[in-house]
């Protein structure tokens, strides 16, 4: 085998350039992109804090901007992006943690995802309820 001329000439196929734009990778690409939406929403909240610190006039302006139609549309789009981020992130959650073994049995990854989603929903609904109650008495 070692004698003679080798006809080996391995061919290197390039990776498809737009792999991230196609199934099954598109869901992953969107999940990562939605991280930008999370950061944007964080920036909006931070801007509110800065306005609060600068005084009454600045904070009133911030609230007027928030109440505008454009702002409502932006918030709807951000909400959709954050929801996608939450769902897809919790789908990958069981892959990022050690295997969960309860009573000598493996907890199925789907149960971990379902529990995390339920927790996120309960916490969000709870926070919303608290804000509404505080708003009603303010």
């Amino acid at each position: 085998m070692s004698e003679g001329i080798s006809e080996r000439r391995p061919f290197h196929r390039p990776q498809p350039r737009h792999w991230w734009a196609h199934k099954p990778y598109l869901a992953y690409t969107l999940r990562e992109l939605c991280g930008v939406a999370v950061a944007l929403y964080g920036a909006i909240l931070l801007a509110g804090l800065v306005c609060l610190w600068r005084g009454q006039a600045a904070f009133d302006l911030y609230r007027r901007v928030l109440g505008s139609e454009a702002s409502l549309l932006v918030h709807l789009a951000l909400l959709a992006a954050v929801l996608w981020h939450v769902v897809t992130w919790f789908q990958i959650l069981p892959k990022t943690m050690p295997k969960l073994i309860l009573g000598g049995r493996l907890v199925p990854p789907r149960a971990v995802t379902a529990l995390a989603l339920l927790l996120a929903f309960v916490c969000s609904a709870g926070l919303l309820a608290v804000v509404i109650v505080i708003g009603a008495f303010a």
Binding site: T96, K99, G104
Partner: protein
């Protein structure tokens, strides 16, 4: 003749062929293959080799999804040819290509040398915590201890996860999902003491840190090994190892020579 034996139906298979002695680059060649309902893509390829073109090259051995030899891209998805039925692809034409992200040796045969080296690099055997003579009996383990690594021990080295991994496609030196599943199979084993030795192999960009949690490796795995879990658990382990390096004891278990 029963319905399943009826071979009056045919399917067009577009096979990516590369003959290094004569082709400058791979080209698609079409074959029309009679098939029955119980026929796998591997059997269809074998029928091409038997009756149409004896020079068509592909790897196979067990025909029952346990040897991991016949991985290929079927309609763009990494699959085992023996585990994919022709009836599920028909009546449309189907494309058959060698595994993505690997150099092509010839037709559907890819180069596996780098993958084997990666497997070797992570000490793929148990390095006992405590060496004991045979007279003292077996190393015991509870079902719960076994559940911690069992899925990872199901890996058949078929490399479908590598073909599905865009980060391995971008960086061929990335240790990749399969080798990490193997690593976790031993690191999570209660009888093993070689954890530090293996962790030393996977720090850095070519180790776990090329992974961006795409997760498709686990979806294409024919054995439900969940290699993405193995990689991502070890990001935590690798990070902890980085910060605890200064305080951990330096004694290492001796590898098997």
């Amino acid at each position: 003749m029963s319905e399943t034996m009826d071979r009056s139906k045919t399917i067009e298979l577009r096979v990516l062929r590369y003959r290094p002695a004569s082709d400058s680059e791979p080209v698609f060649v079409s074959y029309r293959v009679p098939y029955s309902d119980d026929m796998s893509v591997l059997q269809a390829l074998q029928s091409i080799k038997d009756s149409q073109d004896g020079s068509l090259s592909f790897r196979w051995s067990c025909r029952m999804a346990i040897c991991g030899s016949c991985g290929m891209m079927i309609n763009g998805e990494p699959k085992l040819a023996c585990n994919t039925f022709v009836r599920d692809l028909a009546p449309n034409a189907a494309t058959i290509e060698p595994l993505q992200n690997f150099p092509i040796e010839r037709d559907l045969v890819v180069t596996v040398g780098d993958f084997v080296k990666k497997i070797e690099s992570i000490y793929p055997y148990i390095i006992p915590k405590v060496q004991k003579p045979i007279e003292e009996g077996a190393y015991l383990q509870t079902p719960a201890q076994m559940a911690a690594y069992e899925s990872f021990s199901d890996c058949i080295n078929c490399m479908l996860c590598y073909a599905a991994c865009p980060q391995f496609g971008a960086n061929p030196d990335f240790i990749g999902p399969g080798a990490m599943a193997m690593l976790q199979r031993y690191n999570a084993d209660s009888r093993d003491g070689g954890r530090q030795l293996r962790l030393d192999q996977i720090n850095g960009e070519d180790g776990v840190w090329s992974c961006t949690a795409v997760g498709i490796c686990s979806e294409v795995c024919p054995k439900a090994v969940d290699p993405a879990n193995a990689v991502n658990q070890n990001k935590t382990n690798s990070a902890l190892d980085f910060f605890l390096r200064a305080v951990r004891p330096q004694a290492k278990p001796e590898p098997r020579s």
